[in-house]
């Protein structure tokens, strides 16, 4: 009875899905889907290797500081970095005094309350503060940017397919649209952006836009894009390097423990005091040979 009902239910599902398939094939053959301009012109992020790529990857603190400088002088005019605090900058090699100075001199002040009157006010940032947002709220952000809200950058390197390589490709990917492609007003053509038209104007417009200190590479646009992508990866995943540093000894320990566990297992099954046992199934070569032999003797096929 179960099998009979199951058979009917099975036929029902197969018939329903076959019906869908039939119409799907008819539509596909009669009207093959055309590739949209987005699909044709869109480009995947370039493959870029960073100092933090791979299992032994580490952050290059010098590069993170350069990237922070690019963020401070270019990106932070429009973008917030809300999940990162000034105190976190200690991790990329700034001293406590430097962090205090960076917080104190930050362009945007932190919302506060006037201690005497209770009115809304602002104060200078301290290391414990998170980076203040350049806009008071979403409406202010949209009003200042043709209704396109500049997204928060703290997790950007993890929130897009491709991560830092996507950011770097995007920052260096602005170009003139191909002939015949119409870019809507107030938008900018960039093949790395999902729908090709990004509201952000090209942020890195000229080499030397940011002045790096002595001992650093020349601040070309490519170099600045590379540095800020690395900085945003750190902002998104500050514990990446620690994660890698923990991972290697953990793996060494686990491999060692697993080898010991394997030897213990073999010792228990095949040691001098164990019962005579072979922990194998029908796919064991000895078994298969034996079965084949027995079948041959008995003249059974298959």
């Amino acid at each position: 009875m179960v099998r009979f009902l199951g058979f009917l239910v099975g036929l029902g599902f197969v018939a329903a899905v076959a019906w869908s398939l039939l119409w799907g094939v008819v539509a596909y053959v009669g009207n093959p889907p055309e590739q949209t301009a987005e699909a044709r012109l869109h480009e995947e992020p370039r493959s870029i290797s960073y100092s933090f790529s791979g299992p032994f990857g580490r952050y290059d603190l010098q590069q993170l500081q350069r990237g922070f400088q690019v963020f401070k002088e270019v990106c932070s005019a429009c973008h917030s970095l809300t999940h990162v605090a000034f105190r976190d900058l200690r991790q990329i090699g700034y001293s406590e005094a430097e962090v205090r100075a960076i917080a104190d001199q930050w362009q945007i002040q932190v919302p506060s309350i006037n201690p005497d009157t209770g009115e809304a006010a602002t104060r200078k940032a301290i290391p414990a503060d998170h980076f203040p947002s350049p806009y008071a709220n979403e409406i202010a952000g949209r009003a200042a940017n043709n209704n396109a809200l500049p997204p928060d950058l703290s997790l950007m390197a993890k929130a897009r397919e491709g991560g830092p390589a996507y950011i770097e490709s995007l920052l260096t990917g602005f170009r003139n649209p191909p002939a015949g492609y119409q870019v809507p007003p107030n938008l900018h053509y960039n093949p790395y952006f999902a729908n090709l038209n990004i509201a952000m104007p090209p942020p890195l417009v000229s080499d030397g836009q940011v002045t790096y200190g002595p001992g650093n590479p020349a601040p070309t646009r490519a170099q600045m894009a590379n540095d800020v992508a690395a900085f945003l990866m750190w902002a998104a995943e500050p514990n990446l390097q620690r994660r890698h540093e923990y991972g290697i000894p953990v793996l060494i320990f686990l491999i060692f423990a697993t080898i010991l566990a394997y030897l213990a297992y073999q010792n228990i099954w095949h040691g001098p005091t164990s019962r005579r046992v072979r922990p194998t199934g029908v796919l064991d070569p000895e078994n298969m040979a034996k079965n084949a032999h027995a079948k041959q003797d008995a003249g059974v096929a298959g």
């Binding site: 799907g24 620690r242 953990v250 922990p279």
Partner: protein, 433 residues
């Protein structure tokens, strides 16, 4: 319980004897996972995954309880509290990555455990109850994992919750009311998040309870084995401890190596980048997908695109739920007296096609609902249902199975005439099921 030759617990230390006389807990453990549980001696590595699933649940509960100490189930602050865990809580990044990758680990070992059960006929008499309790655990796992994915309150959390609860809206008459009742409102919001957090904390302990029943039911007939032949004599078994505790220890080590590689070096590989964007009810992501372990079922859901007597959406929802619920009837759909796929030449072929089919469904489920993925998932969905509801019942009537060994010990001990008897090579009388 178990076999007559199972060893009895004999406490050596006077303190343990005193304890055992008053509360026979050591006796229970000894009989369940100790020297008192005789297990077929020929289990292969596919029998490691049950213990690994238990390990995964333990890992999820331990990391989850600590994460709950730092997590905030408020729609305004949930996302930030997860970032607080990642940045400011000591080793919080480890806890969260262990928990999120631990969920994937749990599903991988559970899927392998289920595949093993299907290939070796572990669902067949007398283990139907073990099988069905296992499916209850699987359903509870899916509910728990789905609700857990909502908690970070990212874009995919929000829209995933909206799509999945929206499935209930396809039920005729009561669908919409059920959907609102699940969400606690018209769309996912604060009531959804708090109830999902509460249930996400509760269900793992329900799972642990059902696992106890699963193991209890298993211990009545004892474990199945790769030949599918019943245990007949003490020669066929070894005590669980130390033989299989040692083997499971090795298996756990290998599994932990894979899990550690994921946690420390590829923690976001299986996640979706969009979930690092805070939930925004006004902005729909271009491509909503659940976590990878739901992809095969998501592909089945989306395979029904044309109305056929019933609306297409209802077909999709019915098919998705049926694809799991039909497994409850598997012991009665497949009546072949031979358990192990190793002795069923035709079943074996259809089984491996089914494995490929499930993988294809998984790939389609992760892709956007575009051609050719929809057409491929339609073919794969048809095979999925045909395999269980049409092919298996027919196979069990027409298939000519291979000769079974007379006993487990015969299949593993070679050239030992004293123990091995000649196999029944005609295949006419399969071993007792």
């Amino acid at each position: 319980m178990s076999f007559p030759w199972a060893e009895q617990y004999k406490p050596k230390h006077p303190l343990m004897r005193w304890f055992d006389d008053r509360l026979p807990l050591p006796r229970l453990v000894y009989g369940a996972v100790g020297g008192g549980y005789p297990v077929p001696r020929n289990l292969n590595y596919m029998w490691n995954f049950g213990v690994l699933a238990g390990l995964a649940l333990t890992l999820q509960i331990v990391t989850g309880i600590v994460l709950a100490m730092h997590y905030n189930s408020n729609a305004d602050t949930a996302f930030n509290s997860v970032e607080h865990i990642m940045r400011d809580v000591n080793q919080g990044w480890f806890l969260r990555y262990a928990h999120s990758n631990g969920a994937s680990f749990f599903f991988i070992v559970t899927y392998l455990h289920i595949f093993r059960g299907i290939f070796y006929g572990s669902y067949k008499a007398p283990r139907e109850m073990v099988w069905m309790l296992g499916l209850v655990i699987f359903l509870l796992m899916m509910a728990t994992a789905f609700m857990g994915y909502v908690l970070p309150w990212g874009q995919m959390s929000f829209w995933g919750a909206k799509v999945i609860t929206g499935l209930f809206g396809a039920i005729p008459l009561v669908g919409e009311s059920v959907q609102h009742w699940l969400l606690g409102g018209f769309a996912p919001d604060q009531p959804t998040l708090t109830r999902f957090f509460s249930l996400h904390y509760l269900l793992p302990f329900v799972i642990a309870g059902v696992i106890i029943l699963h193991i209890w039911a298993l211990h009545i007939p004892g474990s199945n084995n790769p030949t599918g032949v019943d245990v007949k004599s003490p020669q066929d078994t070894v005590p669980f401890h130390p033989y299989y505790t040692a083997k499971d220890g090795f298996g756990a080590g290998v599994a932990m190596i894979f899990l550690a590689i994921m946690i420390f070096f590829l923690p976001n590989l299986l996640g979706h980048p969009v979930n690092y964007v805070p939930a925004n009810p006004l902005s729909t992501p271009s491509h909503i997908v659940p976590e990878w372990y739901f992809w095969p079922f998501y592909a089945i859901l989306r395979a029904f695109t044309s109305d056929f007597i019933l609306p297409a959406k209802l077909w999709g929802v019915l098919a998705m739920f049926s694809s799991i619920l039909l497994l409850f009837f598997l012991p009665w759909l497949d009546k072949s007296p031979v358990r192990s796929g190793s002795y069923r030449p035709m079943f074996r072929i259809f089984f491996w096609i089914w494995i490929v089919d499930v993988l294809v469904l998984g790939i389609c489920g992760g892709k956007p609902a575009e051609e050719p993925w929809v057409m491929i998932s339609e073919v794969a969905t048809a095979y999925y249902f045909a395999f269980f509801l049409i092919i298996l019942p027919i196979l069990s009537m027409v298939e000519r199975t291979k000769p079974l060994p007379n006993s487990i010990s015969e299949s593993v001990l070679h050239g030992e005439a004293a123990e091995a008897a000649p196999a029944d090579l005609t295949g006419a009388t399969p071993a007792q099921a």
